[in-house]
């Protein structure tokens, strides 16, 4: 019997298509579908009730969600900017090092080698109000005799989380910007010095435009990271106290697993992903523009 035979390219790609479908496409479609249902893990049948945009409508009106959303954006903005500045400073210092630069580069990467969970535990310990290093140091230096409730006060806890985030990821910026600095031709800098630039002007008009694309690459990578920030927060405060450090993903996981409202959680997750995509697209645009500007050949 001679029936229809699928074309060879399709047949050859079929294994890959099957795997992709099983692990990516089907879960994606299923989760997207479930965000249009009142699906609860405790009531499997609820998966078959289609409610349209009700979950999304509820999220849009949900104060708690928007607070977490805003806090995530705030964390993203502050963390990226501080990391960028610190990373830039570090990179420029390391670039100036005449000896031991390889060693310094390696040391600079240490924070990246730790799991965010471990970083979370470490900072949770350091910021502990009773036995933490931070309070101990402050008290020993005589700066305060109070036990500052780092992880209990809302804004202090947010700061503590920021510090942990920044500590663990500044090196991403430092490494990428250092790569830019090392790749940069030295002559334009010398030309700028002869052209009358002060060191600051040299940086502002010559060095910075050149390393900007590298900074944007770091930004793009980190914006994905922070938008899915979960582990450090989960360990340090678990969104507490009283949801004052709740970020989108801690909220999503709480809604999904603690409250078992999977449909609603999936809707939230899709909004969060949208946020990630927006940030990434924004930095990609910036990156492309900066690349054209320095006429990069990559």
């Amino acid at each position: 019997m001679k029936g229809w035979r699928p074309p060879a390219p399709f047949l050859l790609l079929l294994p890959a298509i099957v795997v992709l479908a099983a692990v990516v496409i089907v879960p994606l479609i299923l989760s997207l579908y479930s965000s249009f249902t009142p699906f609860r893990l405790t009531q499997p049948a609820s998966l078959y009730t289609f409610v349209g945009f009700r979950n999304y409508a509820r999220i849009l009106a949900d104060r708690e969600f928007w607070t977490a959303f805003g806090r995530t954006v705030l964390l993203l903005t502050v963390a990226l900017n501080v990391e960028m500045l610190l990373g830039l400073g570090l990179a420029m210092l390391v670039e100036k090092a005449t000896s031991g630069q390889r060693l310094l580069r390696t040391i600079m990467m240490f924070p990246m080698m730790f799991s965010p969970i471990l970083v979370g535990f470490q900072f949770k310990f350091m910021f502990n109000d009773n036995i933490g290093l931070v309070n101990n140091a402050l008290q020993s230096l005589g700066l305060t005799d109070q036990a500052i409730p780092w992880l209990i006060d809302g804004s202090l806890a947010f700061t503590a989380i920021l510090v942990a985030e920044i500590w663990s990821s500044t090196s991403v910026f430092a490494i990428l910007i250092l790569a830019g600095l090392l790749a940069m031709p030295k002559e334009p800098i010398e030309a700028a010095r002869v052209d009358g630039c002060t060191p600051w002007q040299t940086f502002r008009y010559v060095t910075w435009p050149f390393i900007m694309p590298f900074a944007y690459i770091a930004m793009t990578i980190r914006s994905l990271d922070v938008a899915r920030a979960y582990d450090i927060v989960k360990i340090m405060t678990d969104g507490g106290p009283a949801k004052r450090t709740e970020l989108i993903w801690t909220l999503v996981s709480r809604t999904a697993y603690a409250d078992a409202r999977m449909g609603l959680a999936n809707a939230m997750a899709y909004v969060a992903i949208l946020l990630s995509i927006l940030f990434t697209v924004y930095f990609f645009r910036k990156l492309a523009a900066a690349r054209t500007q320095i006429a990069a050949e990559w």
């Binding site: 031709p185 010095r193 002869v194 052209d195 008009y205 010559v206 435009p209 320095i294 006429a295």
Partner: protein, 365 residues
């Protein structure tokens, strides 16, 4: 007035001294070329003048004032780099106007000066391009434009033409010469190409291993080299330099071949002295195919066998064997030669040079 004076200028990198206390006075509006083989310290010297390398010893004066510790921006000079060093993210216009912008001039003040420089260098149609959209020669002109827009007192050129092809180099050489005639600034020009140095400079400074070997006009260094090194470095193809010994009024080469001792060196050498004999290819030619500059009496005739020829069209370089070594001669109004052919050659000894066999210094009075 922009004179530049180097007084016992020294450059050390750690314990290694690369420029050993050189002295040089550059007059206002003079075009000075620093030449020498790679590693002779010429670029380092230029960079010390620019302020890009700290000075380890001695004094540098610009316009009479000691500027050793002034940063480059306070020295009122412009530099053209070998790699052009254009700012990749700026257009040609921005590149050229950058130094004025930094100096705090308004866009209205900057525009006419950029336009004028662009006109001089034929860059007007390229003003809105970025360096990556330009050819090598155009980038080179932008680099020069960036320098002239500033109207500095001193121009520094660091091998500005070495990244260009031969034709463009010749063309730009002429441009630089015209430019100097026009802007009337002091120019210090570093090159390893002696042709550039000869054609451009008022005076040439020949450097070797961090020392100055000779300073002089192009004619000086070509016709009256102070040392074997200068003689071999200036001139293309290089001067024939052959070790020999003085014996009973002759210069005797290792093979036993001999040439009469040129009359002007008769009182300057003693029998048995080791010397280096030098003769430019122009002064070694097949009879009837060259010009001798001195008396007929100073022309020594000898038959040589042709080993190899390099026809250049208007002339042919002839390689032949004499005194146990290979000599290059220059044949004007050339005719075809075959290798192995024996030809009567003229050695124009009035143009010959003798250098001390040990010190390499000239034995000329």
């Amino acid at each position: 007035m922009a004179t530049v004076s180097l007084e016992k200028l020294v450059k050390r990198y750690g314990a290694v001294e690369v420029v050993h206390g050189i002295d040089l006075d550059v007059a206002d509006r003079e075009f000075i070329a620093l030449v020498g083989p790679s590693g002779c310290g010429k670029s380092t010297t230029l960079r010390m003048i620019a302020g890009l390398e700290p000075i380890s010893g001695g004094n540098l004066r610009i316009g009479g004032k000691i500027v050793n510790d002034l940063p480059p921006r306070s020295r009122n000079l412009a530099m053209v780099f070998q790699s052009y060093a254009l700012y990749p993210h700026m257009t040609v216009r921005e590149n050229m106007g950058f130094s004025l912008k930094i100096a705090g001039q308004t866009p209205e003040e900057i525009a006419p000066r950029v336009e004028e420089a662009a006109k001089t260098l034929d860059l007007t149609h390229l003003l809105d391009r970025r360096p990556s959209q330009l050819s090598g020669g155009q980038r080179q002109r932008v680099a020069m434009g960036r320098a002239i827009v500033r109207q500095p007192e001193v121009f520094l050129f660091d091998e500005p033409l070495s990244n260009l092809d031969a034709k463009l180099r010749t063309q730009m050489r002429v441009e630089i010469k015209k430019l100097h005639a026009k802007v009337q600034s002091t120019v210090i020009y570093v090159t390893h190409d002696q042709v550039e140095a000869m054609t451009l400079a008022d005076r040439i400074v020949i450097m070797r291993d961090g020392h100055i070997e000779q300073v002089g006009t192009p004619e000086d260094v070509f016709q009256r080299p102070n040392s074997k090194f200068v003689a071999g470095f200036i001139g293309s193809p290089p001067m024939n330099l052959k070790d020999a010994e003085i014996a009973d009024g002759h210069v005797v080469f290792s093979s036993g071949d001999r040439l009469p001792l040129p009359s002007r060196f008769r009182d300057r050498v003693t029998a048995g002295q080791r010397v280096t004999f030098g003769l430019r290819p122009d002064d070694l030619y097949p009879a009837g195919h060259g010009i001798h500059s001195g008396e007929d009496a100073d022309v020594y005739r000898h038959d040589l066998h042709v080993i190899l020829t390099e026809p250049l069209g208007n002339e042919t370089l002839v390689f032949s064997d004499f005194g146990g070594a290979e000599w290059v001669g220059r044949m004007l109004n050339p005719r075809r030669l075959v290798s192995g052919e024996a030809l009567p050659f003229c050695f124009d000894l009035s143009q010959a040079h003798l250098f001390d066999g040990e010190t390499g210094k000239t034995l000329r009075g």
